[in-house]
């Protein structure tokens, strides 16, 4: 009986239903003039605008600019986070020197540093990349730091009893042991990098997604703004997929994934 009822209700249980209804309601409200175009463009208009922007090359060109900012910022931030995390965890002196600074840095909202970065680095690419790098450094550092602390001492002891030196210990035992935590940090870093991208580009940019949004705002082109919102969402989704793929490969030894 429960089964029969669940089959009857299955359209109501589909996870697609509410988003589709929402889009339909939005489209209807736009067509009837309930929502004026300068408040929010209709979904169909957004779609047409997006296709036009892709065909004209406007969207890909600006997306590429934004993409490089994120890639460069992330590359620098993640590398620094990993190096500092290892240095801080593997020597008392490193811990004493590095960790207090990182904890102080944590208390400063990175966004609040934007004005200072503009004073220092001008309004070109540098402050944008620096802002992303600075913001992504900490989640990587913190998670690696905690991950290394969580590495099983007994495995380290065993490896040492087989005569592994410090470098071999880091490569074969400590980093692989901390990898699940490091990947969590990386996931945070990717999310934060996109947030920082939005902020950095909206402050000041002559190209990139944020530049498109700023321009669209000045001309009240809500369709372009929504297109850019969708691109941001897709960027986030792509980042998540990337991390998942890396996790599946790097953590293939974990029993849950081994059985699957």
């Amino acid at each position: 009986m429960t089964r029969a009822r669940s089959t009857l209700l299955s359209p109501l249980r589909s996870r697609w239903l509410s988003p589709v209804l929402f889009l339909l309601a939005w489209e209807l409200a736009s067509r009837t003039g309930l929502i004026p175009a300068h408040t929010l463009a209709a979904p169909s208009t957004v779609l047409v605008t997006m296709l036009q922007m892709i065909r004209s090359g406007e969207l890909p060109a600006n997306l590429l600019v934004s993409f490089w900012r994120v890639a460069l910022g992330l590359g620098i931030g993640v590398s620094l986070g990993v190096v500092l995390g290892i240095l801080a965890r593997l020597s008392r002196r490193g811990d004493a020197l590095i960790d207090p600074l990182m904890q102080i840095k944590r208390t400063i909202p990175v966004v609040a540093l934007a004005p200072l970065f503009i004073v220092w680095f001008g309004i070109g690419e540098t402050p944008k990349v620096a802002l992303i790098a600075f913001a992504t450094l900490f989640p990587v550092y913190l998670n690696l730091y905690n991950g290394i602390r969580g590495v099983d001492r007994r495995l380290v002891d065993a490896a040492r009893s087989f005569g592994l030196d410090q470098r071999q210990l880091i490569v074969h035992v400590i980093l692989p042991g901390a990898l699940p935590s490091l990947l969590v940090g990386l996931r945070y870093a990717l999310t934060i990098s996109i947030v920082m991208l939005v902020i950095a580009e909206q402050i000041n940019a002559s190209a990139g997604l944020g530049f498109l949004v700023n321009n669209a705002r000045d001309f009240m082109r809500t369709d372009i703004i929504v297109v850019c919102l969708m691109v941001y969402a897709l960027l986030g989704l792509a980042a998540d997929t990337l991390i998942r793929t890396v996790e599946d490969r790097a953590l293939a030894w974990r029993p849950k994934l081994v059985e699957a």
Binding site: S161, F162, W253, V258
Partner: protein, 260 residues
């Protein structure tokens, strides 16, 4: 209750030699003025309560704790098999065995060692998919591949079921006969100690309380060691009848625990 040590025969230098070895952690004296020799190729079983200093002694012999300038001789080629296997879960079985081996022959050597313990079919398995017995055999192969002069077994079979334990005992004796390392096995199991060892040592409060060489051949020890079992258990604080396990556990009267 000391026992003559190969009486009348000129001895080669022992592989392990401790003289007046003490170790304390804070106010606690863990090992107290300990003398211990292990001859080349000798199989020694170490019995003792939890907290008797067994683990500390094993860590010293494994070179995991520094000897702090005391009179300690241990060979450079050592290998440890721990109770909990301690395989690196992120490395496939053969890579665990080859851990830290130099040169291009590492894989071939690892495969040969795994063949010796009967695991040729599990070379590429992930450690977390191994059964308890397979994990311990991998740990044995990992120790063996280093061609140790001294092999330290830290309660290696305590977590295995009785049938697997029996097979592992056979395997360890065969490997020992083929390679002739000195072996020190730490165990709680009096019968395991009697079945495997040339010499049984009971450690209590950081001192050697009891020591006896077993002269009878392995495989035909029942008759000659009937009384040894009672004396070993007595040294461990359990008063019982002489005879085998089947005779000593009869019910009816509680085993008298010696006052600690």
């Amino acid at each position: 209750m000391s026992v003559a040590y190969f009486p009348g025969i000129a001895q080669p230098a022992p592989v392990v030699r401790l003289r007046g070895f003490s170790r304390r952690f804070g106010p606690n004296l863990i090992l107290d003025d300990l003398d211990l020799d292990i001859a080349a190729g000798e199989f020694v079983a170490l019995l003792g309560h939890s907290g008797s200093g067994k683990t500390t002694l094993l860590r010293t012999l494994a070179g995991l704790d520094r000897a702090d300038g005391q009179a300690v001789t241990i060979p450079s080629a050592r290998a440890v098999v721990f109770q909990d296997a301690r395989l690196l879960p992120w490395k496939r079985v053969w890579k665990n065995v080859a851990l830290g081996l130099p040169g291009r022959t590492a894989r071939a050597r690892a495969e040969a060692a795994l063949a010796e313990v009967g695991l040729s079919h599990r070379l590429d398995a992930w450690p977390l998919t191994l059964s308890g017995g397979e994990a311990q055999r991998t740990a044995l192969a990992r120790a063996l591949v280093r061609e140790p002069q001294l092999m330290l077994l830290d309660e290696p079979f305590a977590a295995l079921d009785a049938l697997t334990r029996l097979r592992m005992h056979e395997l360890v004796l065969n490997l020992w006969r083929a390679h002739r390392p000195s072996v020190l096995i730490v165990t709680h199991d009096v019968d395991e100690a009697i079945a495997l060892a040339d010499r049984v040592v009971v450690l209590d409060k950081g001192r050697i309380l009891f020591e006896e060489r077993i002269v009878a051949e392995r495989g035909s020890r029942t008759a000659s060691v009937r009384d040894l079992r009672r004396r070993l258990l007595g040294a461990l604080g359990v008063a019982t009848q002489s005879g085998s396990y089947a005779d000593t556990v009869a019910g009816g009267q509680p085993l008298a625990e010696a006052a600690e």
